[in-house]
C-alpha cells in the first residue's frame, strides 16, 4: 500500500513535505533522535522533526499514534518509530525508523559495557546526564500542555484527561485496566451521536 509512495512523498503525507520522504531520511531522523534519548520524553522531539519541521505528518495523524504507542505493549519510542515509519513508507519505513532509533543506543551500550566502571565513577557525568533528562521532561511538559488544547469540545474530554492523569500519574494504578476503562468511555463521548454516518464527522 504505502510502499508505492516511495519517492512520491505527496501521496504519503497530506501536507506538503519540506524534505522528501526517503528511507535514508527516515533512518537518519530516528538515528539522531535515538542517539540523544536520555531519560524518556522522546515524543515531542519526534513530533518536532516529523510534523513541525518536515511536514511529513499532520498533528491529527500523529497524536493518535502517541496514545497508541503508550497503550500497546513495548517501548513508547520504538512503538512510535514503527507507527510513524509505517505511516510514511510502509513496512520498510517502519523497519528503517526502528533500526534508526536503536542503532546509536546499541553501539553506545556496547562501548559502555567495556568502560562502565570508569563511567559510573565520575559523579560530574551523572550531573550532566540528569540535566539532559530534566530538559527532556520539560519538552514533554510542553507537549502535554499543547495536547490539553486538542482534547476536543466540552467538559467531558477534559474530565477524561484529568482522570487518566490522576489514575496513572498520582494513584499509580496499572496502565492496562485504566486504559481499558478510559478509552471506550472516551470514544463513547466522542461518538457522533444523533448524526447519521457520513455527516459532519470531521467538522
Amino acid at each position: 500500500m504505502t510502499e508505492a509512495a516511495v519517492k512520491q512523498p505527496g501521496s504519503a503525507a497530506p501536507a506538503e513535505p519540506k524534505i522528501p520522504v526517503t528511507y535514508t531520511a527516515v533512518y537518519s531522523v530516528f538515528f539522531w533522535i535515538g542517539l540523544f534519548s536520555f531519560g524518556g520524553g522522546l515524543m515531542p522531539w519526534i513530533q518536532r522533526e516529523i510534523v513541525i519541521k518536515r511536514g511529513w505528518m499532520r498533528d491529527e495523524d500523529f497524536l493518535p499514534g502517541v496514545a497508541m504507542a503508550q497503550i500497546l505493549p513495548g517501548v513508547n519510542s520504538t512503538n512510535m518509530a514503527v507507527y510513524v515509519g509505517r505511516h510514511l513508507l510502509g513496512v520498510s519505513g517502519a523497519a528503517a525508523a526502528i533500526i534508526g532509533i536503536l542503532t546509536g543506543p546499541f553501539v553506545i551500550m556496547l562501548v559502555a559495557a567495556y568502560s562502565y566502571k570508569a563511567i559510573l565513577g565520575v559523579p560530574a557525568l551523572h550531573a550532566a546526564m540528569a540535566g539532559v533528562a530534566a530538559a527532556a521532561i520539560g519538552m514533554l511538559l510542553r507537549m502535554g500542555v499543547l495536547a490539553v488544547g486538542t482534547t476536543g469540545k466540552g467538559v467531558l474530554p477534559i474530565v477524561v484527561m484529568i482522570s487518566v492523569f490522576l489514575a496513572i500519574g498520582v494513584m499509580k494504578w496499572p496502565l492496562v485496566p485504566v486504559v481499558l476503562v478510559a478509552v471506550p468511555l472516551s470514544v463513547l463521548i466522542a461518538w457522533p451521536w444523533g448524526r447519521k454516518s457520513g455527516g459532519d464527522v470531521d467538522a
Binding site: 546499541f106 559523579p123 478510559a182
Partner: protein, 189 residues
C-alpha cells in the same frame, strides 16, 4: 566465564526476552523484575551486583531502559547474543504495533475511526502529563529539575521550532554548575 556461545544459550536468551517484549506494558520498567528473576535467580548468568551495575549503565546511556536485556545478553553471549536479544526485545512488540496501526490506517475516514481518534486524544494528553509527573518524581522531584523543566517548556512556547540540542545542553550545564557549586551530590559507585 562462558567461552562458547552455544546455540542453546542464544535460544534461551530469545526465550527469556521475547515474552518480556510483549509483557512490557506501560514502558520498559515493567520488565526489570521478571528479567532480574530469570537471569540472576533462576539461570545465575550474572550476580545481583552485576545486574545493578548494568542497570546503572542503561540509566546513563541513551535508549530505552529495556536495552538492559541486550546488555546482559552481551555479557553472557557476546555480540551475537546482544543481536539476538535486540530482535527478541523489539520485534514482537513492533509487529504488534505495526499490525494495529495498519488496521488503524485502512479504516481512516470512517465515523468510528474519527470517534476513536478523538477519544484517544484526551487519553494521550492524560498519559503524557502522567509521564511528566512520573519522570519528575524519578529524577528526585527537586526544585532544580522543576526549574529546568519549566524553562525548557517556556523556551519551546516562545520558539516552537527550536532545536532540542541547545535545550538539552542547557539542562546539562545547569546541573553541572549546581554540582560544581555543591548543590548536588552524586556518590561515585
Amino acid at each position: 566465564m562462558r567461552e562458547e556461545t552455544s546455540l542453546a544459550l542464544l535460544i534461551s536468551i530469545a526465550v527469556i526476552l521475547a515474552p518480556l517484549s510483549i509483557a512490557s506494558i506501560g514502558g520498559a520498567t515493567a520488565i526489570y523484575a521478571p528479567l532480574q528473576h530469570e537471569v540472576v535467580d533462576l539461570r545465575q548468568w550474572i550476580t545481583g551486583r552485576e545486574f545493578l551495575d548494568l542497570f546503572a549503565i542503561c540509566r546513563f546511556t541513551p535508549g530505552p531502559s529495556s536495552l538492559l536485556g541486550a546488555l546482559i545478553a552481551f555479557k553472557v553471549a557476546g555480540l551475537l547474543g546482544a543481536l539476538v536479544a535486540m530482535v527478541a526485545l523489539y520485534l514482537p512488540s513492533s509487529m504488534l504495533c505495526y499490525s494495529v496501526s495498519r488496521v488503524w490506517a485502512t479504516h481512516k475516514g470512517k465515523p468510528w475511526h474519527t470517534a476513536v481518534e478523538r477519544g484517544l486524544t484526551p487519553v494521550a494528553a492524560g498519559l503524557i502529563l502522567a509521564g511528566v509527573l512520573a519522570l519528575f518524581q524519578l529524577s528526585g522531584g527537586d526544585l532544580l529539575t522543576g526549574a529546568v523543566m519549566v524553562a525548557v517548556a517556556g523556551m519551546l512556547t516562545w520558539k516552537r521550532k527550536m532545536h532540542p540540542f541547545p535545550l538539552l545542553i542547557g539542562g546539562a550545564i545547569a546541573y553541572e554548575a549546581s554540582y560544581l557549586l555543591g548543590y548536588l551530590n552524586y556518590a561515585a559507585t
